[in-house]
């Protein structure tokens, strides 16, 4: 008989058995960087207490994101939070060791201008590629001139800032994506900025002050999204532009402008957009396009345009004319979205049907999906839907969404009655 003496397990030492099972600490540095970069900065820095090997692994992560999600403060005291935040960001930047490729600062608590200047100076020294700066509170923040020296910048995103580059600024040679929202910038600074970034592919511009004429000179631009108040927009040298979304947030007064300028805004707009694929006309921009002379069809058809979205006031004659011109000029249109804009002063309901079914037979040869929303069942709107249904042979889906529950039943009854050219067409009614 053998006596089995059970040996007590030794206490947990950093023995080699641990090393066998520890698969993660010896992954290559760039892989660890990737893993830590995907954590909120708080968790990433916390990894320094895991073990000796992990003490400084966080210090080489290439992207630093300081936003509302990265800290949990139990205190409600504003100045306490602010001081703690400044302290933390200072520490992280100081202890960081290596190139920083992405820096995002977006915290809702008010931060001091000198602090932010200091941090931007720090990152501008380390070949930064992406900068996202969202100033939630306070006046427009003016980034220091060192930001404009970052020639490795590929993506720049600013919110609530004032842009005033130094005189010596010659543009960002590598900038591909620019996103400016709630900014103040003067006319010539804007033009110079756009034209001096030769690699620019995406431009987003929302709620800007100081620019009235948008002159876009960007040979590689592919994506363009603006919303704001302006008087004029013109594209120079934008052959590759394929996605355009424009919103004019102010209602323009047609009478004023008629006397001045008789040229066609519509023609000028499309003259340099030969390859446009997706177009969204929002807010009052259709009214802008309707100014001046509106041809029955554009001279150069937009053959690549396959998605069109228009916000339109169905009762406005000029807007309808402009919309019709557009619809005639995109033979390969596949998706159409019409959003009805309700005006405070309702124009007279016209008795004539603008969308008279004359000779539009080849108009919607490829149209498959249509969405009409914000309507209230007025005659002009129903005329359009009727016209659409009877002229789209390959239509697959028409989605209708009214603005309110008023007159729902009447609307549905009328819809039910319309003739459909396509036997596959589904008419889907969505609740308001």
């Amino acid at each position: 008989m053998s006596i089995v003496i059970k040996q007590r397990e030794p206490s947990r030492l950093p023995s080699k058995t641990d090393a066998e099972f520890d698969r993660i600490s010896n992954l290559p540095g760039h892989v660890i960087d990737q893993i830590l970069s995907r954590l909120p900065i708080r968790d990433a820095v916390r990894s320094s207490v895991l073990s000796r090997k992990w003490r400084y692994k966080w210090a080489t992560i290439p992207c630093l994101v300081f936003d509302n999600h990265c800290f949990n403060f139990s205190s409600q005291d504003q100045s306490f939070i602010k001081n703690k935040l400044v302290n933390i960001i200072d520490h992280v930047l100081l202890l960081h060791n290596g190139p920083i490729h992405k820096f995002k600062l977006s915290h809702r608590d008010l931060l001091g201008v000198t602090d932010i200047d200091r941090w931007i100076l720090c990152i501008s020294r380390s070949s930064i590629k992406e900068v996202v700066l969202e100033i939630w509170k306070g006046q427009r923040y003016k980034p220091p001139s060192c930001l404009f020296k970052c020639q490795n910048l590929v993506h720049l995103e600013l919110f609530n800032c004032l842009l005033k580059p130094p005189l010596m600024f010659k543009g960002f040679q590598n900038l591909k994506s620019l996103d400016l929202q709630h900014i103040t910038i003067t006319q010539d600074v804007f033009e110079k900025l756009i034209s001096s970034c030769p690699s620019l592919e995406r431009l987003t511009l929302m709620n800007f002050t100081g620019v009235t004429n948008l002159i876009i000179d960007a040979p590689n631009l592919q994506f363009f999204d603006i919303g704001g108040i302006f008087e004029d927009v013109s594209f120079l040298n934008t052959v590759h532009l394929s996605l355009v979304s424009i919103g004019l947030y102010v209602n323009i007064d047609n009478e004023e402008n008629d006397a001045r300028d008789n040229s066609s805004k519509l023609l000028r707009f499309f003259v340099n957009l030969p390859h446009i694929r997706r177009l969204e006309i929002q807010s009052y921009f259709l009214k802008y396009l309707a100014m001046g002379y509106v041809p029955s069809r554009l001279p150069n058809l937009c053959v690549d345009l396959n998605h069109l979205s228009i916000r339109i006031d169905f009762d406005d004659l000029e807007e309808n004319t402009a919309a019709l011109c557009l619809l005639r000029s995109c033979p390969n249109l596949q998706e159409l979205e019409m959003l009805a804009r309700s005006e405070e002063q309702s124009s007279m309901e016209r008795s004539t049907n603008f969308w008279e079914d004359d000779h539009w037979s080849s108009l919607f040869a490829h149209l498959r999906l249509v969405k009409v929303s914000g309507i209230s069942g007025v005659k002009s709107e129903m005329d359009f839907i009727k016209f659409l249904l009877s002229n789209s042979p390959v239509l697959e889906q028409l989605t209708v969404k009214p603005a309110s529950q008023e007159g729902e039943w009447e609307l549905m009854k009328e819809l039910l009655r319309f003739r459909r050219a396509s036997i596959y067409a589904e008419v889907i009614y969505l609740d308001p």
């Binding site: 520890d22 698969r23 968790d43």
Partner: protein
């Protein structure tokens, strides 16, 4: 081609295969389009012409063992088909990534050595999700990390972004140690420091007062007094400061009083109360840094605290009672200075305002 024909022709000729050899020596053949999805294998085939037969099998890096290789090939087999939608790919990835942590790490390592970036991205994201939000103990448990930071490394004020109570305590302990060291240092250097401070104030004084020589003696007296005071008060240093901080509300303009007290002090000497005040004023200036960089969570001995509270209230009251007269005297010396008026607030404390804002 008919089925019969296909059977006659050797399969290798229909579909080309790549030969791969893992570090343990085993060789297998894999469909070409699947294997070529890995950049490293692609490179070997194209640049070096390897992998066409058993003898010229591509030797894979050591981190790729057969189990991992088969996982990676499954991944490649799915994703190399061009027709799949994004939704399909995403749901495949979600299912694919469900494995234990150990295998996940191995897979990351293997995918990285084959330079298969999309898979490395996928696994790093999964690992990050595992790490996120967990405490250090939990993470060590999951990944079998040794808890091997030495005590002193743990003592270094780690950046405590987490409010981890353990780290906060450690920081506090360390800060206390540092403070004690500093205070001991200070005791040694007091003579030198005081000289400096006094010299500066004498200069200021002379220019401010515009030729009042009678007070140099007074200053000398106060200096010696100060030295003694300091030694006694050394222990109460930070506590006193704290008490003052806590009592900021009560004597409303105590800070202001202290600042202007310095001036007062240098002019009028030999009054017990004011010299005490000067000490405290000095302390506030000198110890300001210390207050800032340490989480003052220290528990002060309650008995001591009460004593200090009483002292502070005491001389604050004394100040408030005869301060206005004294200030008038001081100010009558300085003609250039804009006359600053003091008035008593409702609760007996001082309020200072400039000429233009007179009631």
């Amino acid at each position: 081609m008919s089925e019969v024909d296909m059977a006659v022709i050797k399969p290798e000729m229909m579909k080309s295969y790549i030969w791969l050899q893992t570090a343990d020596g085993s060789i297998q053949q894999v469909e070409q389009e699947v294997a070529m999805f890995c950049p490293m294998i692609c490179h070997e085939v194209i640049q070096k012409g390897m992998g066409s037969s058993k003898n010229y099998a591509i030797s894979l890096p050591q981190r790729v063992n057969p189990a991992m290789l088969s996982l990676i090939l499954d991944y490649c087999r799915f994703h190399q088909v061009p027709g799949r939608s994004n939704k399909e790919r995403k749901s495949f990835d979600e299912k694919f990534i469900r494995m234990d942590t150990k295998r996940l790490c191995e897979l990351t390592s293997a995918a990285d050595s084959l330079q298969l970036k999309p898979l490395v991205d996928l696994t790093s994201r999964a690992l990050a999700r595992i790490i996120e939000g967990k405490s250090p103990e939990e993470i060590r448990e999951i990944f079998h990390l040794p808890d091997d930071l030495t005590e002193e490394e743990k003592l270094e004020p780690l950046k405590n972004t987490t409010d981890d109570p353990r780290i906060r305590l450690l920081n506090r302990l360390y800060a206390k140690k540092r403070k004690e060291l500093k205070e001991r240092q200070k005791l040694k250097n007091i003579e030198v420091e005081e000289e400096r401070v006094d010299d500066r104030s004498v200069d200021d004084l002379l220019s401010f007062i515009n030729g009042d020589n009678g007070d140099s003696k007074g200053i000398k007296n106060s200096k010696s007094k100060k030295k003694n005071r300091r030694r006694k008060d050394q222990q109460k240093n930070t506590s006193a400061n704290e008490a003052i901080k806590n009592h900021n509300k009560e004597p409303n303009g105590l800070n202001q009083v202290c600042r202007s007290a310095e001036v007062g002090q240098k002019v009028r000497a030999g009054v017990g109360a004011t010299s005490n005040l000067h000490d405290v004023g000095d302390d506030i200036f000198d110890n300001k840094n210390e207050l800032d960089d340490v989480d003052i969570d220290d528990e002060i001995d309650p008995a001591l605290k009460e004593k200090i509270d009483r002292e502070v209230e005491d001389f604050a009251r004394r100040l408030n009672s005869d301060w206005p007269e004294r200030m008038q005297e001081i100010l009558s010396f300085g003609h250039e200075r804009k006359p600053v008026h003091f008035s008593l607030n409702g609760n007996g404390s001082l309020r200072r305002y400039a000429n233009s804002e007179q009631r």
